[in-house]
């Protein structure tokens, strides 16, 4: 059975600034993970295909083509993992 960890190598709660979480995607599955996210979340804004501002069910986040994602205002890591599961698996 697939799990979020298949695509995610690290989740860090960033200091300060409205409860941000930084998610780092696994390098070897980066392209696949980004494709899945872009397919499932709504692209609000794209900057030169390098940075994407996205929305998924009212949760806004920013995806970097380098494989890092910043989530804002997500209530806890469990909630974040649930969202990640929905956009990645």
């Amino acid at each position: 059975m697939s799990s979020v960890e298949e695509y995610v190598t690290r989740i860090e709660e960033a200091c300060g600034e409205d409860k941000q979480f930084i998610v780092v995607l696994r390098y070897d599955l980066l392209k696949e993970a980004i494709a899945r996210i872009l397919e499932r979340a709504k692209v609000e804004k794209s900057i030169s295909q390098v940075v994407f501002d996205l929305d998924y069910g009212g949760v806004s986040f920013r995806l970097y083509s380098t494989g890092k994602i910043i989530f804002r205002n997500v209530k806890g890591e469990q909630k974040l993992k649930k969202i990640l599961g929905e956009i990645l698996l």
């Binding site: 960033a14 300060g16 930084i22 940075v51 920013r62 380098t66």
Partner: protein, 411 residues
């Protein structure tokens, strides 16, 4: 004058590309890159000299011991200590501060005593004191800083009382790069019989530091922030103080004799000479060898030249960053009062966003509280993005950094 382009040839990692862009490494306050001379010294040690120190009479152990002792001497000369007896090798600044905090708590600090810590400190110079305050019963009190994040001398004078035993302060703030007048603070402290411990993690790598001139009692710094291997660092301690202090850790190397007494059923211990009394267990011998190579590299350049180069970089960066209307630089305006650390905030964008944008362009900067949350809170700062420079950085790299900053600003 230092030639960064020539220096860059010694740093293999700087030839890397990150995310399709040439690497620009501006996270030097966190750790520095290593020149091939340091890498070669480490390789040479393991290929030809590796053995444990001070424990055997064979040739390899003798060679290894000499190299390790020479490393202590090199550090002592670098900061103008009396000799290697005043230099204890540790894993880094954090361990050095913990060593002093624990050793003082065992025998010097008691209930009712006070330890002064400045509000600009890295967590490594706050947390050990708070932990031991609870355990031992002494009080940890905080000395205020000015708007640039430098120590307020009036606050220091006001805070010192008859119960004050120690002052713990940074030489250079890892957040704002502000340089503190350690000599003046030490004079004030010593007038009241207060010992001074200096966190020099951000000063020893970047400017000439002379422990005799500063007249401090203890001074801690990390090897990895000055081209040396990670897991290396040194604690300077005034000899007469170290001689009086009991060791922080027990084990091999730090003892002369351990004898079992049949009558008392106890072991009696006599401690080794300085500095080994404070270095229990097999030390990071190779780390010491790498640190020696790093110090020699810096000495060849000259610490005055290192300082001058960083002032030039800081001035260039501050001038260009000020062209960005949404960016605010934190810390002193005057570059003679700061090191090459430039923290900033961008309107409408978190520090982590700025760092990730920069990362997309191959530029490595730090973001967040930089392990100094109370300091950020005192100055009412949001977490900051921080660019920090070293000997291999160029004005050209800063130009590129500012181009990207402007791009981000205009998104």
């Amino acid at each position: 004058m230092l030639d960064p382009y020539k220096i860059r040839e010694d740093f293999p990692i700087l030839k890397r590309e990150i995310n399709g862009h040439p690497l620009i490494y501006f996270d030097n306050a966190a750790t520095t890159q290593k020149p091939k001379q340091v890498i070669a010294a480490i390789r040479e040690f393991y290929e030809n000299c590796n053995a444990n120190v001070h424990r055997a009479i064979h040739t390899l152990s003798q060679e290894s011991s000499e190299l390790y002792e020479e490393a202590h001497e090199e550090v002592a000369r670098f900061i103008n200590a009396e000799g290697m007896e005043e230099i204890i090798f540790v894993r880094g600044t954090t361990e050095a501060i913990n060593l002093i905090a624990y050793a003082m708590s065992f025998q010097g600090l008691a209930k009712g005593d006070r330890v002064l810590v400045t509000l600009m400190e890295h967590h490594s110079n706050i947390v050990p004191w708070e932990i031991l305050s609870e355990a031992v019963g002494f009080e940890t009190e905080y000395v205020d800083v000015d708007k640039d994040g430098a120590l307020q001398f009036q606050s220091l004078e006001d805070a010192i009382s008859a119960q004050t035993k120690m002052l713990c302060m940074s030489h250079v703030s890892n957040v704002t790069g502000a340089i503190n007048d350690v000599k003046r603070a030490t004079e004030i402290a010593h007038e009241h019989g207060v010992m001074v411990l200096v966190d020099a993690a951000q000063s020893v790598p970047h400017l000439p530091v002379d422990v005799k001139d500063l007249d401090v009692d203890f001074l801690a710094f990390s090897g990895h922030k000055m081209l040396g291997p990670t897991g290396t660092g040194a604690l300077y301690g005034r000899r007469e103080l170290l001689e009086r202090m009991k060791p922080f850790q027990g084990g091999g190397s730090m003892i002369k004799n351990v004898r079992f007494n049949e009558t008392s059923r106890r072991c009696s211990i006599s401690f080794n000479d300085l500095p080994w009394k404070f270095e229990a267990g097999t030390p990071d011998i190779c780390g010491g060898v790498g640190l020696t190579a790093a110090i020699r590299y810096l000495k060849d350049i000259g610490m005055e030249n290192v300082r001058e180069h960083e002032i030039r970089l800081a001035e260039h960066a501050m001038r260009l960053i000020k062209e960005c209307t949404k960016v605010k630089i934190q810390g002193p305006e005057d570059t003679s009062r700061r090191c090459g650390i430039i923290p900033f905030n961008m309107e409408g964008l978190s520090s982590h966003d700025v760092a990730l944008f920069m990362d997309s362009y191959g530029i490595m900067i730090r973001s967040g509280f930089h392990c100094a949350q109370p300091f950020h809170e005192r100055l009412q700062l949001e977490p900051t993005a921080r660019a920090s420079f070293y000997i291999y950085n160029t004005c050209e790299e800063i130009d590129r950094f500012c181009e990207v900053l402007k791009e981000i600003e205009n998104l």
